[in-house]
Symmetry: C2
Subunit: 218 residues, 2 copies
């Protein structure tokens, strides 16, 4: 294996471009970023981004795709663990919510800052009228459908509309929290910190779990 190759067999400069693009897109959005700034951060020439990824929009998709596959695999594993632990009963709503959230905190991202940028990027995409619908569906729906199936199993004969709107609330709360915009720091006058995701974790789990439980048929 060449010295120019990281573990995945791709050139180091290629991943350097992905890392720089990820950070920039997360901070400023797709249109707020230019390729020269990305290239500068990555320490490469402008044209190299085009050589490896094609158009700017293709680079954006590549950034989204890279960690989506990893995150989906982690979440699927966590969900299957929750299902098998509870078998033959359905898992609790809280166990499902935790399976959806835990991979965000227990992955390699603790030592890899790229993951935090990625979460902010997902918040940007999720809330964009331009791409929110299409891109989130493309990258995450196959997995999300399985989580909704699990919730349906856990909650019983639940109203379908209520279930989807509840997940929608979950999605909005989650992406904003992990975007780390600094909003809660200002609102709480320093009591809470955006970058304290571990501290936010239990609060989010409780809030969301209660929300889903409220639609359980009596």
């Amino acid at each position: 294996m060449s010295l120019a190759m990281p573990d995945d067999g791709k050139p180091v400069r290629r991943t350097a471009i992905l890392d720089a693009a990820e950070a920039q897109f997360a901070q400023h959005g797709y249109d707020g970023v230019n390729l020269r700034a990305i290239a500068r951060d990555a320490g490469v020439d402008v044209a190299l981004a085009n050589y490896h990824f094609g158009k700017k929009r293709d680079l954006f998709d590549a950034v989204l795709m890279r960690r989506a596959e990893v995150l989906n695999a982690w979440r699927l594993k966590a969900l299957e663990d929750a299902l098998s632990e509870a078998r033959p009963n359905p898992p609790s709503v809280e166990a499902i919510v935790r399976a959806y959230l835990r991979p965000l905190l227990t992955g390699s991202h603790v030592t890899e800052p790229g993951w935090k940028h990625y979460y902010a990027l997902i918040a940007y995409v999720n809330n964009s009228p331009d791409w929110g619908g299409k891109l989130m569906t493309q990258f995450f729906d196959p997995l999300i459908i399985q989580f909704i199936d699990a919730l349906r199993l856990s909650l019983g004969d639940v109203d379908e509309k209520a279930l989807y709107w509840s997940y929608h609330c979950f999605s909005g709360a989650l992406t904003l929290t992990f975007a780390e915009t600094g909003r809660i720091d200002l609102l709480s006058k320093g009591l809470c910190h955006s970058d304290d995701l571990a501290g936010a974790y239990e609060h989010v789990v409780r809030f969301i779990t209660a929300g889903f439980e409220s639609i359980r048929p009596t």
Copy 2:
């Protein structure tokens, strides 16, 4: 009063620019929009935006400010109504949540499409690491603090961190829902519709109310 003046005494072209800018910023974000496209939609010359509002960024702030003042007034009225109806007891959590949400649905926006664009714009701002913290604080915090005070009154001796993180979840769920990204339409395979805000209303109220109730001390 001149024929060139609408009710508020400002030139019609000035508000035409605000309307066009609002729609464009909401759809594509700050950097995804150029002044020539705004001017074209407004039916005016490019330079006119600069004459009325100064720099592009100042126009953006003017768009945010215009409806923020109206929305804050509506919400304050709704909150005061909820407080006085319940007096001498504190209002229920649900009554407070409804006071926060109802103005989004009962205002003049039913006949005025600009409000829907505005909600999408708020979702964009709220989730932006660049501006989320500062701008939301600047335009909405004075009112939001009053809502959090009311929630604290209603919930009793509640954990402060849990209260702020719960509001944070509320904020994320709300802004995403009113951004109408089309996401839920695809996820639910047509069962739910992003633009059916009236239909979403009861589901959001229930989900959020249950979330806040979960932090009530026992």
